[in-house]
């Protein structure tokens, strides 16, 4: 069942083989695996890594740490005022021959669905390896890592109806085979002597220690569940909801929405309400059974870019309804009344 789940996951993201699916704890660990194993073997002082201004902290801090350790350089694809990546600036950054381009497929704040295939194609033309943070995209879109030609692709089970504590790093077998192991220990070895070891084959080479067996099986069940419904159907349904939600939220005086129009984004609506702090908005909504998240959503630099400390964020999935959007809108009017 544990290996069966791996096969299901491979099929779900259209990987060429299940040995390209490495179990990790979550997206964060997957990105760190690339930073520790691939990057430390391949990057030296002065090498350029391109990120974007809309990254989650998990795709910033590992690179900050590597910068401090190795002296790599970081640069960022800017975010435009309407929440899109500025691809013209990206193209000029590529003239500096980066070694790695690491970016989110879908912003967890703005909802922006980035043109991953194009970003990857341009990166490859410039000779760079690509890593995609797919924490938001795999749960909500049909993802085909081969069609995207992604070199690495990271995601978590808990954002796709699965359990916490398990995620995946997809990597092209040729890259994974050339990489040094990540954590050392049991399971990741073929043979151990007192003074040496031989690493195991993929995917076990990167999976030291007793794995999260129950979680992997749960991950497989989540993939079965989503596959049975169909990712195209889920994406279409969420699109309908977010279109409706943006329309309704826009009507409310004092509400400011962040991110692009509904046709360019997934099902999240981050907003501020004039004169009321996002935490107060969230707390008051919570009392009516409406759960939104308030804060910087682990994307502090993005919020700084927009000149705000925090937003409230409503997020939708296959189980969300238009009636719930109406409850949210009514709740925001109630907040306005209280702070009026």
């Amino acid at each position: 069942m544990y290996e069966g789940a791996r096969e299901k996951i491979a099929k779900f993201i259209h990987a060429a083989a299940s040995r390209e699916i490495i179990y990790t704890r979550n997206t964060t660990e997957s990105i760190n695996l690339v930073a520790y194993s691939w990057a430390r073997a391949n990057l030296k002082a002065g090498d350029l890594v391109i990120l974007t201004e809309m990254e989650h902290h998990s795709n910033l801090v590992p690179w900050h740490m590597l910068q401090a350790e190795r002296g790599i350089e970081l640069d960022f694809i800017p975010v435009t005022d309407d929440g899109l990546l500025d691809l013209e600036t990206y193209k000029s950054l590529l003239d500096r021959r980066p070694k790695l381009v690491s970016f989110t497929h879908m912003s967890n704040v703005l909802g922006t669905i980035n043109p991953a295939a194009e970003i990857i194609r341009l990166a490859h033309e410039a000779g760079a390896v690509t890593l995609v943070d797919g924490a938001q995209s795999v749960p909500h879109l049909k993802v085909d890592v081969q069609a995207l030609d992604a070199d690495f692709y990271a995601f978590s089970a808990h954002k796709m109806c699965g359990p916490t504590g398990i995620g995946v790093l997809y990597g092209k077998a040729s890259l994974l085979e050339a990489m040094p192991p990540f954590l050392g220990g049991g399971d990741m070895i073929k043979e151990v002597k007192l003074r040496s070891f031989r690493a195991n084959a993929l995917p076990h080479k990167f999976e030291a220690g007793t794995p999260a067996i129950a979680e992997a099986v749960g991950f497989g069940a989540a993939v079965d569940y989503l596959s049975a419904i169909g990712m195209e159907g889920i994406a279409a349904y969420e699109h309908e909801i977010i279109e409706y939600a943006l329309d309704r939220l826009e009507e409310i005086p004092g509400v400011k929405l962040f991110g692009p129009s509904a046709d360019k984004k997934g099902g999240v609506a981050a907003f501020t309400l004039d004169g009321v702090h996002p935490h107060d908005v969230a707390q008051i909504l919570d009392r009516d059974g409406i759960a939104v998240r308030a804060g910087h959503h682990c994307a502090q630099p993005l919020h700084e870019k927009f000149g705000i400390p925090a937003t409230s964020r409503a997020s939708f999935y296959l189980y969300s309804t238009k009636e719930e959007v109406d409850m949210l809108v009514n709740g925001i009017y109630k907040v306005k009344e209280m702070f009026g």
Partner: protein, 131 residues
């Protein structure tokens, strides 16, 4: 209708009496709540007997954090620093007149942490200051 958002809290949030900065000042300190990004700076003037004569706060954050800062400033003016050092979590809750869960408690206590770190001359506003 809503205990947490009592009128007094919303009033102090919307129309604070002690918002601002003091220049010159005798004590000034600022810190963040890293969890939610709330930021508070507190400036004090203290007379020769160690009594607070003026106290203001600046910053941004939720209604709870800003209202508690305003109420705290009001309460320490005219008090000796030795008394300010003794202020506790319960004093803040008494000022607010509400009970708070663990998450919002951090919002409420930020201003007291910043105040005490400033008075003690510490580099950081630690949780141990508001036990």
């Amino acid at each position: 209708m809503d205990d947490l958002y009592r009128e007094v809290i919303i009033e102090h949030y919307k129309n604070p009496s002690y918002r601002g900065k003091l220049d010159p000042h005798d004590i000034s300190f600022a810190d963040n709540n890293p969890l939610c990004g709330d930021h508070i700076q507190i400036d004090l003037r203290v007379d020769g007997n160690g009594v607070v004569t003026e106290a203001v706060f600046d910053g941004h954050g939720c209604a709870i954090s800003q209202a508690s800062a305003d109420l705290l400033m009001e309460s320490i003016i005219g008090k000796p620093l030795e008394e300010v050092k003794k202020l506790s979590k319960q004093d803040i809750l008494d000022l607010l007149g509400i009970d708070l869960g663990p998450v919002r408690l951090k919002c409420a206590l930020l201003s007291l942490k910043v105040l005490k770190a400033g008075v003690y001359g510490l580099g950081e506003a630690g949780d141990d200051l508001v036990e």
